[in-house]
Subunit: 248 residues, 6 copies
């Protein structure tokens, strides 16, 4: 099912609270899908300008300058990964739910017609923006399915939703029930991480995460899946039941 | 990945507490894999002679007679489904864990070299035999992986384990995270159910279960999976993380 | 406790997100209580006009027309079940929490003085309107107990709350800890379901649900409860501890 | 349903790990049922001679003496409560599962034909004997339902099971979903507690528990249940779904 | 670590939904910290004037009068406990989240620079104000950490958060994983409780809670912790992992 | 509380299923306590000879040879860490519960009089030996508290129990609620890991684990705890409530 000849082109929608979340948490999945010719659309609700840009504030930048730097980093990373970037710039810490924001997300769902969706976990006691983003992504998906919402438009189907690995999994209700082999696109992910200039310590941290999930993937797969010894993986949590024609 | 040309032959191992459990709970999966040319091995720990043969006892049969009828029904159903039947005849209500039983199961794992395993849920407040069977199936799988257990033999890999749908899912910790499309083999499953002569009320009950899971599968899949309107499905719960090269 | 002679008249309050939810999920309980001479009050926050009226949109109706059809169906079903209908018409997909809506619900609690409340589950990943309705029903109940809210009015007591069975129980935290025997009013429920003209497929689906819960009720009750073989039941989840003078 | 005129006589089976557990945890329920003319059968697997008789050991008694004192205390308490006492004397710390013990319990189920069962919680990190007793009580109940176990005997129905309140509820998975009003028999329970001569500190402790659960019962019931202000209650956790003909 | 000589002065921030919650639930912890020379800051979002002042309404007071009485009681109790009181007076039943309220809380975090935080549990089906207060306390803490929120101010660190014991622990997801010995300040707590003139029944109720948690503390500690026999304790639930240099 | 002057000498008991588990999972805690002059007793139920010595089997060693190598590695590592080693040599894959094994463990508890206990998690779907070891460690601790078990001996108190970090935390119910700073003894732990000659890949793996838990510890502690930037930590899960005289 992974070879691009036989599969229809897919459309991946990634909904990220802050400008850099997607790189660490889903950069491999994005690069993998882009490398197979699928469409990858990335939505960043905010730049993480207030809460996740400590280095830039320490350099004395003001709010607009911080946002600009963060925008450029996100754009560079998205380009590396092969994704089309949408920045909503709604502000962070906190991200606030508004009818307008919800409508914009519904519109993106309708336009993108995703065949799969990636976003944050339902709860994260270190980051309430992540939890709200989850909530918005789930709600917008459901509204986009409603035939009476903008009845002239085209409703979406029932794309599966996969949740990113959060920083401290055991406190976020994160059950990593899918380990995605991203060995082939690891270099691309690493280059995208390097676009985040001020967070060099995270390059190493998420390399370790990629290795650890790779070891777990290796331990949980039979010989015929053929994972290499030094595999890299990303972990995701499936929200809805998987519909399948085999037990793989 | 479902077409037999490209895939290596798989080996499915089904571990069932009583002689009939497999029919209602996994008959579709078994028929599906057999129909694709895979090997399907079925192990029944007991005949369910004491606890799940009320009709036969009411007819005045004695223990040996009950077991014989149950054996013949199980054999007929296994044949319909395309499975190789192993009956261990360890007695039921309760099934008792012994070193010998565990060894026999380890030996079956080693011989069958399964690429996937199906068995009962970890708990079932209506049926402690089911819970024990789960425990034995899990433990035997782990021992069969140990290089120092019968060192001259061949260890097994890390086959994924899928749990059957129990009678009352919400009380058994059953999260139906895989809905398997069994529409194509539904007739075969139904014929296998009919081998269970004295339980006609269950034919209808599990037909309803198959329909309901089919409706849920339809609701949770995009248009390109192409489920038919009147699909039939079986629900399973995955024990270990799925290792995958796509997010399907 | 069920015979109407000895019991005081009860007051059931049903809070439903969309116009048809109550029929499938609580129609039996409503008919049962009405048949015993109790008061049954039904509140529909919306008509489900945008999200649950696909057939009507496909027929080319506009928003007002869809709402009118849905209103009429709900009114007919409520009449069949013996319930007094209140439609709040706040819109759906999404239902939005406002101080006004909350106040209206508090006012209904104060006016109805319910002895029991029925509403949706706390979470439902397929339907965020259901989760919000749960939240509003719980919050309004608590506010209606506050002596300083409209101090001239009469506070309510502590009516137990029972949650409806959602579509996919295992994903909604739904523990069906009460199985209500609705055999005697099944025909009434079925007639109410038939008022939902465009959803004939659900008539059969929820007939199957009623049968399955009936089988489970039969399996979990001793002989003296006297359930008939082909019983019908509805499942509910109790929110608060049951206060009882026996262990039944 | 609580008045003895209209109800058939019930049969309560209480399965207690150690000789005194039943007094603190279920003495009110036992006295209540006995006072209504129901049959109450009490099974104590052990005397708690090794693990729960510190005072007696400090007095210099030997094992047989400890057991005799504990037996006499249990017998006196059971008599106060109106229960028929069976002491199995299998030893404690640890209670060990054996086929013989299981058979004795199955035999008791068959003989007593319980209409309801009370026992310990599924887990208790302070007391593994309690958890094992739960497991045995559940397993024996299931075996006693099996028509092929001693086919000449009479199988039991499906009596509901209620779990005792453990010492530290939040660590034992104890959800107190039934609060039983034991106000009318409080004095009897208190007298039974006084039979436990060496544990005077527990008389006060469990009086406080009874008051606290009484306050909670009062807070969770409407005015028509008519609990008195200084009510006493015992908390239980229901294992199986309640089958009911009303939502009370 | 508890002796004031060696420890730096700490700053405890207590965030309470209504004016009296803090007394029953955290009065001991507050008195203990104040007695050791630490700073204790108390924030009451509302006076509990509508929902938790039944006695005052029955006396015929109007809203302003109720609030004044409640203010005076809270101020007296805070003084007894050694805490600095901030009353935000945002109204109750319901407390409503607004950007202004959130900002005030962030400002308090920034000003107080807490080294530990105490607040309500994440959920409480009897009191949605408690759950909202939890949510606000958690969110404000995270925003106060953001360098870009009021960049001229001083961000806070990562103070641990401890949740109060709610009224019915088992229904609020409350795992009492810290039992704090408050024996030395029990008299102070009791005097603070007595400031709540109209709730004399709660004085006894929470004395029992203090005793019960004291018994549990005694049972879970080795001899060297040296708890006295009639210890008093308060239970808390830790939100984040404990960072420690020993396993105590 | 960590300085050895003021604290009484403690006694740590580590119960490990296989000979090497303790090194990776608790080596830091052991070295830390030994470095402070506390007593550290290590019990290895088996050598992990059948299930966790793949390399040695591949080298053609027989069972006794494998056990000898594993013994020597464990002894070397224990010596590095400052622990007294007890090897019970009961066999592995599976470890089997017997009355004798349980008695030996109770005897060790009685002799060691631990002030804290470390062992495996309650469940581990990759390793049923770990789960059984947990069960045995918990049960033996409770029996060792019983005054009537070997009444001439000295009962133990109520030492807290801390669970090791398992390989895949999210599938083992592992909530890492204590992060222990082991920076000061990291080199010792690393040297102990190096005693495990054939598992060089795990040296790196568990170095990464130590770094990641160190980062989390840093993120969850205020400035006054003074963790260094490149801290190393081990994660544990506390079984019983912490009894404390402060909220740290």
């Amino acid at each position: 099912m992974a070879d691009t000849e036989s599969c229809p082109t897919q459309s991946m929608l990634v909904i990220s609270a802050h400008a850099a979340d997607f790189v660490w948490r889903a950069g491999g999945a994005m690069a993998l899908y882009a490398s197979r010719g699928h469409r990858v659309t990335l939505v960043c609700l905010s730049y993480g300008e207030r809460g996740e840009s400590a280095r830039l504030w320490r350099q004395g930048l003001d709010l607009e300058q911080v946002k600009r730097v963060r925008h450029d980093e996100a754009a560079a990373a998205a380009a590396k990964l092969g994704a089309e970037l949408h920045t909503l710039d709604v502000g962070d810490y906190p991200i606030v739910e508004t009818p307008e924001l919800l409508d914009r997300l519904v519109g993106l769902y309708r336009g993108v017609q995703p065949s799969l969706v990636l976003t944050h976990t339902e709860s994260d006691p270190w980051n309430t923006d992540h939890a709200l983003t989850h909530h918005l992504a789930m709600k917008a998906r459901i509204i986009a399915q409603a035939p009476g919402y903008d009845p002239s438009g085209e409703v979406i189907g029932a794309p599966p939703v996969f949740l990113f690995e959060p920083h401290q999994t055991e406190y976020c209700g994160f059950q990593p029930n899918v380990l995605l082999d991203i060995t082939d696109v690891w270099e691309t992910k690493y280059e995208a991480m390097q676009c985040m200039g001020g967070q060099q310590h995270l390059w190493e941290y998420y390399t370790d995460v990629g290795k650890r999930r790779g070891v777990q993937a290796k331990r949980n797969s039979g010989p015929n899946l053929g994972l290499v010894t030094d595999a890299r993986a990303e972990a995701f949590m499936r929200v809805y039941p998987q519909v399948a024609d085999e037990l793989a």
